[in-house]
């Protein structure tokens, strides 16, 4: 066991989100107490009323920046932290928060709050790395507990956390699932980064892309497969946007391809 002094000072913060990624850490019921033996967890408002002003060795940030105050807070956390880790889809791809992107923000606000003059919110949701330097990203909606443990272990033992630069299909095949795409479903597995262990697919639900695009995703081929299955322009766009509406490269490729095919 490390001594109290040698333990890294770790903080968790949440921006706008469902708090599901911090919850995933609390959900590591079997490992939680072990983990807490190896880190000095000084800030975790969801589970502790203790406060710590920093600096931190490692700072985990879940959620999206939705207003100026959150942006300032994120910048402050960056300054205070040796290592900053973006936790989950909202922080790494914008997640469902980015579904507002490309829409009229005033109209969206008005439809939710009626008189929305007291509501301050940004029109676009971007991944945290667009605002500050992010050292590592843990993807998913929510993150996977085992990936979190793997990541933390690498960090604590001085190793470099591994990046899974291959598609969900690899994990899906290892699970010996029947390919849902072959069954006629529209699945984002071929262009989505692995890490989830093909969880959705293993219970009969096609991939929705919450781990974000895999590097060098063959978007064109994916759209071809969707259109061969008779998917309309509208369906393709909705599928791609669900968790990745702020992924500019991804959307650009989609737009380019759709311009040719459907518009």
């Amino acid at each position: 066991m490390p001594t109290e002094k040698s333990k890294p000072v770790v903080a968790f913060y949440g921006l706008t989100c469902c708090a599901g990624c911090q919850l995933e850490v609390l959900n590591l019921e079997e490992e939680l107490l072990d983990i807490l033996g190896h880190i000095n967890l000084v800030q975790f408002r969801m589970g502790s009323s203790a406060k710590h002003p920093g600096p931190y060795d490692v700072c985990f940030v879940e959620g999206s920046v939705t207003n100026e105050a959150e942006l300032a807070h994120l910048k402050e956390l960056r300054e205070k932290s040796k290592v900053l880790v973006a936790l989950g889809a909202c922080a790494t791809t914008g997640g469902v928060n980015a579904l507002r992107n490309g829409r009229n923000i005033e109209e969206l606000k008005q439809s939710v709050y009626g008189d929305a003059s007291h509501v301050r919110t940004l029109p676009q949701i971007q991944p945290l790395k667009e605002y500050v330097k992010v050292d590592y990203e843990l993807q998913g909606c929510p993150i996977a507990g085992d990936e979190f443990i793997e990541f933390l272990t690498a960090l604590l033992t001085g190793g470099e956390p591994s990046e899974k630069n291959y598609a969900v299909c690899v994990e899906c095949r290892l699970k010996e699932n029947i390919c849902l795409m072959k069954e006629g479903e529209l699945c984002l597995g071929p262009i989505t980064r692995a890490g989830c262990g093909a969880r959705c697919l293993s219970v009969g639900f096609p991939c929705e892309g919450c781990w974000g695009p895999v590097p060098q995703a063959n978007v064109e081929s994916e759209i071809n497969m969707f259109s061969q299955k008779g998917a309309s322009f509208d369906v393709v766009v909705r599928k791609f946007r669900m968790f990745n509406a702020s992924m500019e490269d991804f959307m650009k490729q989609l737009k380019k391809r759709l311009d040719i095919e459907w518009l």
């Binding site: 919850l23 959900n27 009323s49 939705t66």
Partner: protein, 426 residues
Amino acid sequence: MVVAKFDIKHIARVEGHGDLFVEVQKSKEPHVEMRVTEGTRLFEAFLRNQCFAEVSHVMSRICGICSHSHAVAALRAVEAALRIEPSHQTIQLRKLMLLGDMLESHALHINFLALPDYVGARNVVEMLPKYQKEVHRALQLKKLGNELMELVGGRHTHPLCAVVGGFTHVPSLTQLESMKKRLRAAIADAKAQIELMGNFTDPQLVRRSQYLAVKHPKEYPIHDGQLVTDTDLQTSVPEYQTMIKERNVSYAHAKFSEIKGKPFVVGSLARLNIAYGQLSDTAKQMIQQVGLKLPSYDIFQMNIGQAIEYLHYLDHAIEIIDELRRTKLEPHVAKHEARAGMSAAAVEAPRGVLIHRYTFDARGKVTSADVITPTAMNYANIEADIRALAPTLQDLSKEEAELKLNMLIRAYDPCISCSVHYLHTC
């Protein structure tokens, strides 16, 4: 004249971001603002134009802790609007999802969020030296809820295989039998959890309010029923807007709710006050044993109320599994197609009544959506409670007074990120 002022930033051990501002005045009622600072989320707005099949997956993302409650409320509302009849098997499996949510969330709240205050700790880690057994027990009780959600919903946070019309995947008989064994084995721990919470009779705040729950003629509130208050008001769920009225407040990204112009309470105490006769026999025995008097108007008894419910919900899950074991379980999705329609559904989430309402056009696309969460329903009552509590805090140190205010808010088990979105009637 202001005689005391409290300005508590980022209330801890609750889900989401909220501040509390209180000014106690000499000859006037205290001024209280429950400032909901969570960033606005606009779920109901960006949901428009999504397809009916996507609604539950988007809406479960409102909340990590009660994602299964949001998913089931969304699925039921979508099905009601599109006139889809789920099978009995589907309904029973969805109840298991909700029960899993209750078990996980209650264990989390009772032990990790509420309990530290009662034993002078700031978090569960500080409790470890003295309460090691209790902490380990709590982790197991919490895990059990997660396992039940994972077994039925495919994942413990944000369910996967529950879809419009049914399930794409169902648990095997062996899995159900093993789950039943674990649920039964947890009964002793659930009783110990009630006994532990029964030791804490302080603080108290007895203030008569109104209590609202989803009441069903055949079972303790969980999956379906009418909106019923302890004052005998009753409304069918699609008519909820005639009962529950909302208003904007300038200091919160959430709307505040009232019934007949007055605040009301949802959550464990509301369910108990309205439906304690429907609890399982073991839960009723434990109420006797710890001497809990129902109905109760002491809001701090939300905590022990959840412990009582934990035991009841274990019993309910066992009963459902026993029934499902006698049938042939198969993935089943009821036939359905896109059509225009509008409807609403309510379930009991861990924190209380949760309502989802949707309108669809002929292509099955969302044209309007409305969600009222239990935490949003409770805000006005939290403020009313604090107005009653604050003047009694004047002889305490600032630290002690702020602890009591925090404890009061935490008793409601608020889920603030859930609450920051609301759709105006359209």
